[in-house]
Symmetry: D2
Subunit: 304 residues, 4 copies
């Protein structure tokens, strides 16, 4: 007996594309991981074995590479929008495309002592080193009429070594936690933020790269500057700060694992631990998640 086919999507995930642009001796690099998910008139593919409406995942991969050449990669968002529009507008049975992009950032290798012999500058134009653990993310959805862009970052690891307290909470039968008046607050930020941009005709695209840099800066600064009574409070301050400063963003969602750093008990060794020696725990960890959005805007970023 056949049951009902519900939401479905398919495409090539994790196509790794590196795009080099050569301006003489100075090269630019964009290093992306692109995942395509297509939906549409695909019932037959699932039910009858006919692939007549199926654009192969292999073709979506090829398209990523070809577009990298044809249009270049000016930003993950602009690249994703081009791809999403193409799949929906140019392939009859495809009605919706979701493009997810991860970007890995590279810095130039500085060679102050030696570089004059290369390009008369303090950098070598074709040599790069991967920056940070942090990954820039973007998700673009296009349904044939409007575009939705949710950008973000993950694996940005931060720590305040003071200015964090936690007390005054509920006590029940299972409470053993001691109240804390000066603790380490550390987390590995996953953030996603939605743009007001809808891709309407004539609507200018934000400066995606600049926007990313500024949102990241405001997240870091809000984390650093907030005197915290809970990670929830810090989360709200971070989301709020972004909305205060970036008009192009109307919703922010944050997932903040509380990467516990426990004070080690040194008393058995006759030593006093004056907030100096901590044990960085792996699991379990607190996990604090929340959305901050502008009044009047219906939030859309899904819960993980």
């Amino acid at each position: 007996m056949a049951h009902v086919l519900g939401q479905n999507q398919y495409g090539k995930a994790e196509t790794r594309v590196v795009r080099i642009t050569r301006n003489g001796h100075r090269h630019e690099i964009r290093d992306l991981n692109v995942s395509v998910a297509l939906s549409g008139d695909l019932d037959d593919v699932h039910l009858t074995g006919s692939n007549a409406h199926c654009l192969p995942t292999d073709t979506t991969k090829n398209t990523v590479y070809a577009f990298a050449k044809q249009y270049g990669i000016t930003s993950p968002e602009a690249f994703g929008i081009q791809l999403a529009r193409h799949f929906v507008d140019d392939t009859e049975p495809i009605h919706r495309a979701r493009i997810r992009v991860e970007e890995y950032v590279w810095d130039r290798i500085a060679t102050p002592d030696n570089s004059a012999k290369f390009i008369g500058s303090d950098e070598i134009g074709h040599s790069f080193v991967r920056r940070g653990t942090e990954v820039r993310t973007s998700e673009i959805v296009y349904d044939g009429s409007s575009v939705q862009v949710i950008s973000g970052l993950k694996d940005l690891i931060v720590m305040n070594s003071t200015n964090s307290e936690f007390w005054g909470y509920i006590k029940d039968r299972y409470t053993t936690l001691q109240e804390a008046y000066d603790r380490i607050l550390a987390t590995q930020v996953t953030a996603r933020w939605k743009f007001g941009f809808t891709g309407a005709e004539g609507e200018p695209e934000p400066n995606w790269d600049r926007s990313y840099g500024q949102v990241r800066r405001h997240l870091l600064e809000a984390f650093a500057e907030t005197y915290s009574y809970s990670l929830q409070q810090t989360l709200f301050a971070m989301g709020n700060r972004v909305l205060d400063n970036r008009a192009e963003v109307d919703e922010v969602r944050l997932e903040l694992p509380n990467k516990h750093h426990f004070l080690v008990d040194l008393e058995p060794f006759g030593l006093k631990n004056d907030n100096e020696v901590y044990y960085a725990a792996d699991r379990p960890y607190g996990l604090i998640e929340g959305t901050v959005h502008r009044e009047g805007v219906a939030p859309v970023i899904p819960v993980a």
Copy 2:
């Protein structure tokens, strides 16, 4: 300027609890990874620095351990339901609890030659070996009135070395894929299935362990027995098979990465590759996702 706090939740993630039950020399083991996420009247925690409504994540961890002792762990689902009910029913500001559980399965170590001296059986009652890469999953949500249970599995890796074709698909400018009439089909199954169970008064709980074993069996058998024209078709057959056989389940969602095995071109070496030698690729991979549900049931399992 303060913006609006949207959906938020918090709790201790990844509490690793192992529960041993000793029946004489024969021990039973349940090995879980439990993640708690609580929502409710928590605006002040985010906005004012007051934790008066905050049940600390540390307490949710303690509760997991205490419940393992007080009630035992008869199944991930039953254990999760108990926890979810407790957090909502016993803590005023908490209005919703989501419990996610991973279970790692252990087999007994068989020692046919030596065991008589231990317990007169062909197994040693206290010695175990971890089975498989596969993880059993469960998500329980309780909002004060009803319970929703979505169980599942992940990292179940399967392969058909024949009985898979792929042809007749859309060709466009970016198509290079050759049609295939006998290919390897391999995937790493992530499955989630929703139970009709709602936790109403007097409603009997399914036999969670038996249900899990049977759903798993039907997924495997449907994968093995389906002559496939696309992974989408296999996906639908797998979901359909579960619904056909397990009345307690009313929705199935599958995520099936197409773990490509490419035939190696051996012609440059003067050799013919008659579907014998394959290269197992890592990335990119096709990713096929879909829901199959009973008619009249509104699907609720979220898209990943």
Copy 3:
């Protein structure tokens, strides 16, 4: 100024090859990850920019695929020996080859209810499911005159829920550990064992597959049957058991992380924890390593 080039080697790492053998409807599968490391007369490659003595890593990869076709894969060890002999014997500047192989094991999917319609047996001959987290390993070294084979396994996770004690140890200023008279002993076995086989003319090869299965069995049984006063004692018993039972092996090295399972303190909740509820910790972990070898045999397996 040029300094001295010391030990060096190169080759293609992690070539993933899957070999299917079709016996009618019943297929056999070997799934390997092969890494090649070659040494020899390679100074110029490093010093002058000449690649005249360099067999490209790409060619070593091609050779893996071609050999899988030409000779089949009867076992990781036999396949590795063939490859090692080829690189050294057939390429003048290459004087030593080290082949490392990981094998991933697949079981057949059992379909008792349905299979008659396929092949008149209780299994489908072309459908497989990956077994276990465990990986079979092998390292073959050939230097032009003799072969050395070190086989092994990793990620075999085992647990005894009783029959383990730990007490009577050194106490110093930094000791806080309580003595234990009934604890969980869990570990993730990495084992390597060296064969006496040297590849001399006319010397028969061991039955590699049977040997592997038996060594694995003896490791498991010795773990299960040893009443343990320390993981070191268990380690020695495991190595000893293999040497007692497998004449083809003359050295065993084991790396056993002590995967701590700590009894949770439930007293604050008014509960007694009678060796029932444990916290499975990630880090830190004890790490116990050791070699057991036959008298008169010089051990060669390197320390990790």
Copy 4:
């Protein structure tokens, strides 16, 4: 029958210790992962079940924490030397200690616009962000008479987008690789370097932190500045550069995976790929390993 116990060692692995030093509002942070391995008069521990000579791994963990308080952490190397000397000199049955340390580096969060209100500088003194994927490593061995220090780094990912060729290599039956005259050269550097330092009485310790920074700089510069005909040539240049510039180092070993970036064939789409669009492959990868050492120095860094 009892066989022979060979090399053995044990200790607590991966103790995660974070040490904060507070200089008023400006905090310093060292974030380490410390693994201890002890050897000595330990036969009885393995053979008889007596732990009379066993310093528990739990105690080695406690010692790491206590020493972090007692002596601070001025560098991974100095900290490791203190620990190694302690275990051997203060525990009769322990004759050799190997301490491995990983260090994770944190940068301060810069907050140019807001920081005046904090500490009159452009940084907040207690807020940090994790730098890079790169990990600093160190291994200290002490046997009761001398100290050996091997420092290193891993996961330093670098790329040259030009100035790399590969041609003129051996061709055999299995060769298909095309010669390359302008390719991407990318690798993930694992480097270890041995110091001449032996810990003799009165011998001054190198400035470990400065040395690390300078070795890292020379590795990066040599990678960037070398016009490469093979990754082997680049490897030698990198090792040589360090020895040329850092007198305190007498041996360097490098493991350089060739992270292949393949030019995508865009011709099927009517496009020319002028070294612009690359596919970043995962596996297989070339793996180039080698040692460079000073004349007259016997190399000791083991092959991985």
